[in-house]
């Protein structure tokens, strides 16, 4: 199975890890915006989550009752396959980046 993860997919999977049981559209969006300073659209989040769900990397649960007033929410969670893929993607990146960061920073300064 293809376990390649794009940039945005990794961000979303990490935010699921951060949020635990409270991962749904609004919190995912806020967590990404807060941590990366990057503005993202709800449409992009759901489109990506839909794709990840099809690949079996996340599960969705729309049946849970929503706490408090407001409209129902769809909660997401990482599957073991998703966790593996994320770990793999991050390790690959780390392996490639190993020891290069100081050099990279120097290049930027120049």
């Amino acid at each position: 199975m293809n376990t390649y993860l794009g940039d945005f997919e990794q961000l979303i999977l990490f935010s699921l890890l951060h949020l635990g049981d409270d991962a749904y559209g609004v919190t995912i969006r806020e967590s990404i915006e807060e941590r990366t300073g990057r503005a993202v659209s709800s449409g992009a989040i759901y489109t990506t989550l839909g794709r990840l769900e099809e690949r079996g990397l996340v599960t969705a649960d729309a049946g849970q009752p929503t706490p408090g007033p407001g409209r129902p929410r769809k909660y997401y969670a990482l599957t073991p396959a998703g966790a593996r893929a994320l770990l793999e993607a991050y390790s690959t990146m780390q392996a490639m980046a190993g020891g290069l960061i100081p050099r990279l920073a120097k290049l930027v300064e120049r």
């Binding site: 749904y24 559209g25 659209s41 709800s42 449409g43 992009a44 489109t47 409209r71 929410r73 769809k74």
Partner: protein, 890 residues
């Protein structure tokens, strides 16, 4: 409503969750203290952002869907491929969309206003409605207010009234300001805290309490330089000094459009039951209470009052109305305005149809592509979907351009309002591009795309067209341009020819107005109405005594102004020159006196009526063209002499000798009674147009009466200033008035040239609008002619090639092609010219003002050139085709 609109654009399996999230985000924004307006904007932005991403994602999997993201890219490519068509289409539709959006914003801001305050929709007013008098007396008596204060369903009930006063602050010029005398609850109700200090408390409303004032942000900045130690300083309002106790933040202007507030100090006990001053009442619906529940309680009390005081209150009923509707609460007008907006929207349909004609010519050249796609299995819906999205790219671009245009127009209107006594208009009438306007424009863009893309597509994708295309191969079969298209070309030309003369005329007339010189030294004059404020609007001072006091103060003011070395003269009139009130006038017809001595011209016409002092014409250097100027004998109630201007002679008397003729004001229109006796006035003099010269359309007919200034209230001063800028001198006028009496208050002091300029603004806007609409129609028509001509010629390409191959002379082929094109052109021009001529003669030459003789032929010639060029290009291209190539296609 917003959710429903959002649901239209956000599609796909996750749409429901996205919509839920966006709503939750908006709620969170509001909880964080974001204003409703900003939160809505963010919502709209989020909706579009999400729509775009879901849509893009859908584009990757177009199976089964009628539209895809690829269509958008194709649409952009089509725009680039046909830049001429794109430019004409976008500009044409942008004009219609801009007009629609601006009118939508204005109409719905006035009709369905929103109060930009926290839960502003829950602020209400309680108005008295007198059923017997069929009028909406908006005001309430002080005694009613006492009763409304005890309502259970409405909280913080308070009231205000507006008074005008001279504002005097150290080191700044004196100014006439509209002060709101308001109860303390007015600040609480708005839920806006003061930026500095405090606002009133109930203590400040007691009689005998120290004079205090709350000022607005602008007053604080402009008059006190934003001094942080402003609290405790004093300013003078009319005769009294007031201590500043608070500064309200920027933008706060409740209750109407105010920037200075003093406590309302009226004690009901001081007045007899129905003699207290009238007030405007406001309050906030108590939590959980609906407007209907508040109305029920108010109605009960109102009915009790009517029973207790049948003489005064039998027909008076109180109504609870949302405060934002206080200026216009007319649900019955809604339909009229909806219809008006619909008519404005129809402009897009007209222009869109024009663009559709252009697009049709392009679509027709793509029947081959459509046929191939159909053969490969694309459904008709899919083909139409693609054409729709392509057109949507075009109309979307037009929508963005149109919104930019509307934004500019609305800013012009907003800027124009303060120039026209804007303080009297409510602060919540701020014309701008609201989410509602955006939704309307989005709908317009969709309608435009349906007309432009789907209509031609429906015709181009019929089975017979496609079958013909596939069977006959390239260059043959396909769409035929039959009689419909001949009619289209002819009507395009006719419409363009019919409206072009008017546009040219208005455009050139406007260019003339811009550079117009008033014909007198307008820059030297300052004008100002002079008021004498009363302490109590209820008027304990008798009218006669008041007028006597006013006349004495006014004479002294004139005397002191005259004594100022910078003043060359002071004049008195009832209105600022150029701003006179219009009245219908009847003219005595000497020709008919034999049969019926008193018959007046059946159609009465309007003329501005000015009452002026005897020396008016001398002071403004206005020459007397015929007859004489006013003398002391022309003053008084019995005087029956008038002076008219040349526009009056031309347009009302329709030329001829004016001196000695008699006019009167139409009794039907003045009193509603045709039999009422109105005196006849004899014309004793004729003056040129003033303040606008006769040559311009702005020089409206005017009738001047001589008047004794002592009888006018309020009198308008015109001060001629020499050797000093009039704007600088306006400060002197206020100082002199203030020194005479703090209640003697010059109203808006304006240099006369500025007044004249502001009178031109609506005309400028109107003329610009008309010229833009007309030119875009003409541009569209020209482009339509060009497109249809090229299409016709392109379709005859093969025929032209064969004829050339068979040895026909190029010029003969060319003549053949042009003959047909020119014939259509000629028919269109004749119809258009005839129509323009008829309209011009029906309006009595008003439309073209005698320029028809040269303007109409010029327009005809112009259209021949445009049409000829349109036909010539494609024809010449056809002639250049090598005959072998044309034949190979056979």
């Amino acid at each position: 409503m917003l959710r429903r609109l959002a649901a239209l654009v956000i599609r796909g399996p996750e749409a429901r969750w996205i919509l839920n999230d966006l709503e939750e985000l908006m709620v969170r924004d509001l909880e964080r203290g974001m204003s409703v307006e900003r939160a809505r904007w963010r919502y709209v932005r989020n909706v579009f952002g999400s729509a775009l991403t879901t849509w893009r994602a859908g584009g990757r999997e177009p199976r089964g869907s009628l539209v895809s993201w690829l269509d958008v890219r194709l649409g952009v490519r089509m725009l680039l491929k046909y830049p001429g068509l794109a430019l004409v289409g976008v500009l044409g539709m942008a004009v219609a969309i801009a007009i629609g959006a601006a009118s939508f914003s204005v109409i719905y801001t006035i009709l369905d206003p929103e109060m930009p305050l926290d839960e502003g929709e829950r602020i209400v007013t309680i108005q008295n409605h007198d059923a017997a008098r069929h009028d909406q007396a908006r005001h309430t008596h002080l005694h009613d207010l006492e009763m409304w204060r005890n309502l259970a369903t409405v909280e913080d009930v308070g009231a205000f009234r507006t008074v005008e006063r001279n504002l005097v602050t150290p080191g700044a010029r004196i100014e006439s300001v509209r002060t709101a005398e308001m109860t303390a609850s007015g600040f609480r109700i708005a839920r806006v805290s003061p930026q500095l200090g405090r606002y009133f408390s109930e203590e400040d409303e007691r009689a005998g309490a120290a004079n205090v004032v709350v000022i607005g942000y602008d007053v604080w900045q402009n008059r006190f330089g934003g001094d942080p130690a402003i609290i405790g300083q004093t300013l003078q309002l009319g005769p009294d000094r007031h201590t500043v106790i608070g500064v309200m933040p920027r933008g706060y202007a409740f209750p109407i459009n105010n920037r200075i507030w003093t406590p309302l100090r009226l004690e009901a006990a001081q007045y007899a039951q129905w003699e207290a001053p009238q007030l405007d009442v406001f309050g906030r619906l108590a939590p959980g209470v609906t407007q209907a529940e508040a109305q029920a309680e108010v109605s009960t009390l109102s009915a009790q009052l009517a029973a207790a005081y049948p003489a005064e209150r039998e027909h008076v009923r109180a109504q609870v109305v949302p405060y934002a509707h206080v200026f216009l609460d007319a649900p019955e007008l809604m339909w009229a305005f909806h219809m008006l907006q619909l008519v404005v929207s129809l402009l897009l349909v007209v222009i869109g149809t024009n663009v559709a004609v252009l697009v049709y010519a392009r679509t027709a050249t793509r029947t081959g592509e459509i046929a191939v796609r159909t053969a490969l299995g694309a459904s008709r819906g899919r083909v139409l979907g693609q054409l729709f999205i392509e057109a949507l790219v075009l109309s979307g671009l037009a929508a963005i351009t149109g919104l930019a245009g509307a934004h500019i127009v609305l800013q012009e209107i907003n800027a124009f309002i303060p120039a026209m006594e804007g303080e009297q208009l409510p602060f919540w009438w701020n014309f701008r591009l609201t989410p509602g306007v955006l939704a309307y424009v989005a709908a317009l863009a969709v309608v435009g795309a349906l007309i432009v893309g789907v209509l031609p597509g429906l015709k181009a994708s019929t089975r017979s067209v496609l079958a013909g295309m596939l069977h006959s191969g390239p260059g043959g079969g396909g769409i035929r341009l039959g009689r419909t298209w001949t009619v289209l070309i002819v009507s395009q030309v006719a419409i363009a020819v019919a409206i072009l003369p008017v546009a040219l005329h208005i455009g050139s007339a406007w260019l003339r107005y811009r550079g117009v010189e008033p014909g007198f030294a307008a820059a030297e004059f300052l004008t100002a109405p002079i008021y004498l404020d009363r302490e109590d609007e209820a008027g304990e001072e008798e009218d006669e005594a008041f007028m006597a006091r006013y006349a004495a103060l006014r004479s002294e003011l004139v005397r002191r102004l005259d004594a100022d070395p910078a003043v060359a003269g002071v004049l008195l009139a009832t209105a600022v020159p150029g701003g006179e009130q219009g009245l219908p006038v009847e003219v005595e017809e000497p020709a008919r006196t034999t049969s019926d001595p008193d018959v007046a011209d059946a159609g009465s016409r309007g003329a501005g009526v000015a009452r002026v002092s005897v020396d008016f014409f001398d002071a403004f250097d206005i020459p007397i063209l015929a007859g004489r100027t006013f003398t002391a004998g022309d003053v008084g109630d019995d005087a029956r002499t008038v002076i008219v201007n040349t526009s009056f002679v031309e347009r009302v008397l329709r030329g001829g000798t004016a001196l000695g003729r008699r006019i009167r004001y139409s009794p039907t229109r003045l009193t509603g009674d045709a039999g009422a006796e109105q005196p006849w006035y004899e014309i004793v003099g004729v003056v040129p147009g003033f303040p606008f010269p006769t040559a311009t359309a702005l020089a409206a007919p005017r009738v001047y009466h001589a008047v004794d200034p002592a009888t006018i209230y309020p009198v308008t001063l015109a001060v001629r200033v020499r050797g000093e800028a009039p704007a600088v001198f306006s400060g002197r006028v206020r100082e002199i008035a203030l020194a005479l009496d703090p209640m003697l208050r010059p109203g808006r002091i304006t240099p006369l040239c500025e007044t004249m300029r502001s009178r031109l603004t609506p005309l400028r806007l109107g003329a610009t609008l008309l010229v833009v609409v007309t030119l875009s129609t003409v541009l569209l028509s020209a482009a339509g002619i060009y497109a249809l001509m090229s299409f016709t010629v392109a379709r005859r390409r093969r025929e032209i090639g064969i004829r050339s191959a068979l040895g026909a002379q190029p010029h003969r082929v060319l003549t053949g092609v042009l003959y047909r094109a020119l014939r259509q052109l000629a028919v269109g021009i004749v119809i258009g010219l005839a129509f323009a001529g008829i309209v011009d003669s029906v309006t009595g030459g008003e439309m073209l003002r005698g320029n028809a003789l040269w303007l109409l032929p010029a327009v005809g010639a112009l259209m021949v050139v445009i049409g000829g060029m349109a036909a010539l290009g494609p024809a010449r291209r056809a002639l250049r085709i090598p005959p072998t190539e044309a034949l190979r296609a056979e």
